[in-house]
Each structure stands twice: as structure tokens, then as C-alpha cells.
Symmetry: C2
DNA sequence: GGAATAGTTAAGCATGGACTTGAGTATTGC
DNA sequence: GCAATACTCAAGTCCATGCTTAACTATTCC
């Protein structure tokens, strides 16, 4: 059983493009907070906040030695999300087959699908 | 090559718990807008907006027959995100092995990791 | 010991997105 | 045709979150 709020926190962390870029950068090797902050047109404090979010949900890990904090990817960090997706893809892939279509028409009662993609008014 | 903004729109869609619940419900079979709106303590219009977000990023599909719009899961909808994760897990899994540790210590220069988890002031 | 460096925290602003309300349109049943 | 149904759209409110500023702490170098 997956923890619902774990998925939630991982998704909230990943939805922010800056944080995905940080992950990208860390996946090429560990880096200090200042090294990470440098390329972004953003203050030190902002990057630090992103790092805290990433660490809180287990996507990265960091340790402070002296006055320098070094961050690195947490290897299994994306696993819960990968599992969540896997769980949902299998049953989803079954609907929309013949069976799914038949169930759709007999169960709920949309008269009949005469012509797919008839609307699409964006 | 994955489209960056595609991942972005999928993550933005999934980060909202209500939308994940809608997906959950649809994965058990197609449903009309009113059927989806019913169980949530939320207006029709709000649910409709969620459905539009889900459809815009390809996670669901809908068709209108008469005055009834029926929604269903788009089978391959989660595939881009699954791929994105897969791409990032493989290289990430390599760091944090012996090699990653060694690179971390020789490349950037944190003197030496004498004692892991020394800080942790939440 | 004092200045410079590296990071930390808190407060405040600003934007985006979820949700509501309310009015409008198309379809169905009588 | 007219009312009810099922959905659609636009505008507005409100709150969460990203970012900044500014003050603060802990280390290192001289």
C-alpha cells in the first residue's frame, strides 16, 4: 500500500520546473548549495527553499560539512511515484479496449457512439 | 526526446488531489460529467475545470453525445511521465554508489565525510 | 579575534490556480 | 413550443506557493 501523502509531496516537488532542473543537475553529480544556486537567476535563499522541498519528500539528500552543505540525488526517491504510475497504468490500459467500450455503452447510457471526436471545441 | 512542457502539464494535472481522484474513478470505467461531479463536495463547474485540465494534457478523453459528455481514461496518458521517470532513475541510481561517493569527494572539495547525518535540524 | 564565506531563517509581496456564482447554450421529453 | 436537463463560460474571490529582502548563525582564513 502506498502512502497517499507521499505521492502528493513528490508531485508537488516535481511540478516546479526549477526543482526539476535542480534534480537534473544533481543527477550529474553532487553539488553544494552555492553551486546549485549559481546558474539560476534566483537568490540563494530561493534555491535553498527548493532544496528543502526536495529533501523533505526524499528526492535528494544533503549533508553539511563545516559550513558547506552538499546535496545529492536520493536514488530511490522517484520509486513511489513510479509505483503509483505502474499501478494505474495496468487497469487503465484495460479500459478502452472492446470490453471497456461495451461496458461504457451498457452501463451508463450514452445512446451509442456514432462518430468519435464530434465536438472538440477546445 | 520528450517534450518538456508535456511533462509539465501532466505533473500540473496530477498534483491536484481532486484530479487524481477523478482519474481513479475513471479508471474503473467511463463516466459522465455529472456522475463525476456528484461525490465531490464541489460545484459542477469546478469538476468541469478539472476535467478540462485532465483532457488538455491527454490523461483523459471525452466525447459529447447529445447533451451528455462522457469521459474516460486515455490509456497512454501516463506514458510520458513514466518515461521521464525511467530516464531519470537510471542515471540517478548510478550515483550514490561507491563511484558517486568517490567523485563527490574528489570533484567538489568537501574535505571528507567523517560522519554522515551530522546536522539534520529539520 | 575579526573579516569573509556559506548557509539559514523569517517576513512580506505577488502571482497562479482552485473554487464559486451566475448567466448562457444546446438537447431532450412532454 | 416550453420546461427541464446537462453542460459551458466568464468573472471574481481567496489561499498556497515562489521569490525577495534583510537580519542572523556558524566556519574558515588571516
Amino acid at each position: 500500500m502506498l502512502n497517499y501523502s507521499e505521492i502528493d509531496s513528490i508531485l508537488r516537488a516535481l511540478v516546479e520546473p526549477t526543482r526539476r532542473q535542480i534534480l537534473e543537475k544533481l543527477s550529474r553529480g553532487p553539488a553544494t548549495v552555492s553551486q546549485l544556486a549559481e546558474p539560476f537567476g534566483m537568490t540563494f535563499a530561493a534555491v535553498l527553499q527548493h532544496l528543502q522541498v526536495l529533501e523533505a519528500c526524499g528526492l535528494i539528500r544533503s549533508e553539511k560539512i563545516g559550513r558547506v552543505r552538499t546535496c545529492r540525488i536520493e536514488p530511490g526517491g522517484l520509486a513511489p511515484l513510479a509505483d503509483w504510475i505502474a499501478e494505474r497504468r495496468i487497469p487503465a490500459e484495460r479500459h478502452l479496449d472492446r470490453l471497456g467500450q461495451i461496458l461504457a455503452e451498457t452501463d451508463q447510457s450514452p445512446p451509442k457512439v456514432q462518430d468519435q471526436e464530434k465536438d472538440e471545441q477546445t
